[in-house]
Assembly symmetry: C3
Homo-oligomer: 208 residues x 3
């Protein structure tokens, strides 16, 4: 199962890179940044989570710097978003939320898988999968001086963590890697979309 | 002295993790974040400084990811704070300041000791001890979009650095590790508490 | 060419460290931080970009922690700025912009060279050179809770990237290292100064 697993991480990572880069570009355009600012945010949003994961794993240089395709995809998504933004008409919110949830699911799955394949404890693999999913968006929000969506949004990091947990359990039960990853991704994506649609949210602490 | 020193770092690190996680949770609750946001800030505040230290030392994966107890303690402290916050009555400021000063002292000592045991130059060990002490709170404040306490607070990083200096000097004078660490921690804690109590502050540059 | 190249990185790095530390100190003084806050920002601005580069390259501990001169230079520049700030009369804007552009050029060149000497792909070396140039200022701005200059300023990261590209092309054409580095630095510095002087800016995306 070596090869398919590595291939799986790669495909999920590259697809997530495209989606998160496009989202970072949109956030930059809405913040009225210039062309280069849009490129910086595309790149940081797309590869930030994976870079955090790889630096923490000690797998340096990170995949995003060892493989030129990550940067190329991120910049291509940034350029495409920059050019098409004005022509596309107002982009509906549901599309942005869906793309983001898909990116979150892909990165959570890829990050968890990579942590497991580096021999990390399942509990740590869940943490690293979650960090991979939410890291890029956190960097994007910090650079735009906003409280990160991961701290504000209903069931966001929770969804990433749920997907990672499903995946870790699946691997513990010796499911094939693609099945565990697929189910984990579906749980993450579905939970996030349901939460947005149903306005689910987690409890807040009551004041003393 | 191998074993006691390693044990010392570990105990100081775990105790600091609990205190900083509780403090991160309180900051998150005051910022009206939901349950998961409270967990994220507990974890980031508690292990952020140590992770920075370990990544900079090249000791990856960081201790906080190699040992599940760090994450478990951080989340336990976060949950306990979340549940007890409303029942505890208003938490007095002096308690928060004291817990924070204790966490700062524990982390500054643990970070300096770890840097020294990795063979770093004493001057660099002081820097890494200070980073370990103030790193988690800095990440917490950046995520909450506030100027970090380390840049605002009177004698904060200064206290961490003073503790680290005492410790490095003690080790140079061949004091036993627990004595050097204990004195360093007391100096850091005492200096920070005195500064808050006496409203000590460092000079500001005068305007031209 | 081993020795001259290593020496080149070192000199550019140390000179850039001094300039960026002075600039970080000025930003801190303007933000009314106390003496230690000024020291923290001097250090973070000066060594932040190089630390990011080294951590991403897996060259840990970073140069700034292996060599005490980086920290010493950063703190010396911070102290000098703190002491002289009030006596210097209002520091003219053009001087600050020039120092910053010089620091940007030195770091972009040093970062690109180091990435190439670690065997990175030229495309990645350009990215790492740019990150080295803009990383410290980004950390400074995030700590001061401002949208980073790299996202706002006209032709800033663009200039760093242009210098890195010139350098990578020069090395590909087998120019001597000092020539490639010199030309890269001049292009970066010149482009940034021209952009500020002529109010050049990059296009923004048009609204839908």
């Amino acid at each position: 199962m070596r090869l398919p697993t590595a291939r799986l991480i790669e495909i999920a990572d590259l697809a997530g890179t495209f989606l998160f880069a496009a989202e970072g570009a949109m956030a930059a355009i809405r913040g009225d940044l210039d062309f280069f600012g849009v490129m910086v945010l595309s790149f940081a949003t797309a590869v930030g989570g994976g870079m955090m994961r790889d630096v923490l794993l000690g797998a340096t240089p990170p995949a995003a710097l060892r493989d030129w395709r990550y940067g190329a995809i991120a910049f291509a998504a940034g350029v495409a978003t920059f050019v098409l933004y004005s022509r596309a008409g107002a982009i509906p919110d549901w599309l942005i939320v869906s793309l983001d949830a898909a990116g979150l699911a892909l990165f959570a799955v890829a990050g968890t898988e990579k942590a497991l394949s580096h021999g990390m404890h399942p509990f740590i693999a869940v943490l690293l999968g979650t960090i991979t999913g939410v890291g890029g968006g956190t960097i994007r929000d910090v650079l735009l001086v906003q409280v990160p969506v991961v701290l504000r949004a209903d069931i966001y990091a929770t969804a990433a963590m749920a997907g990672a947990v499903v995946m870790v359990c699946g691997r513990a039960l010796r499911w094939p890697a693609p099945l565990a990853a697929g189910l984990g991704g579906i749980v993450c994506f579905g939970l996030r979309m349901l939460a947005v649609w149903q306005h689910w949210s987690l409890p807040h602490a009551s004041a003393p």
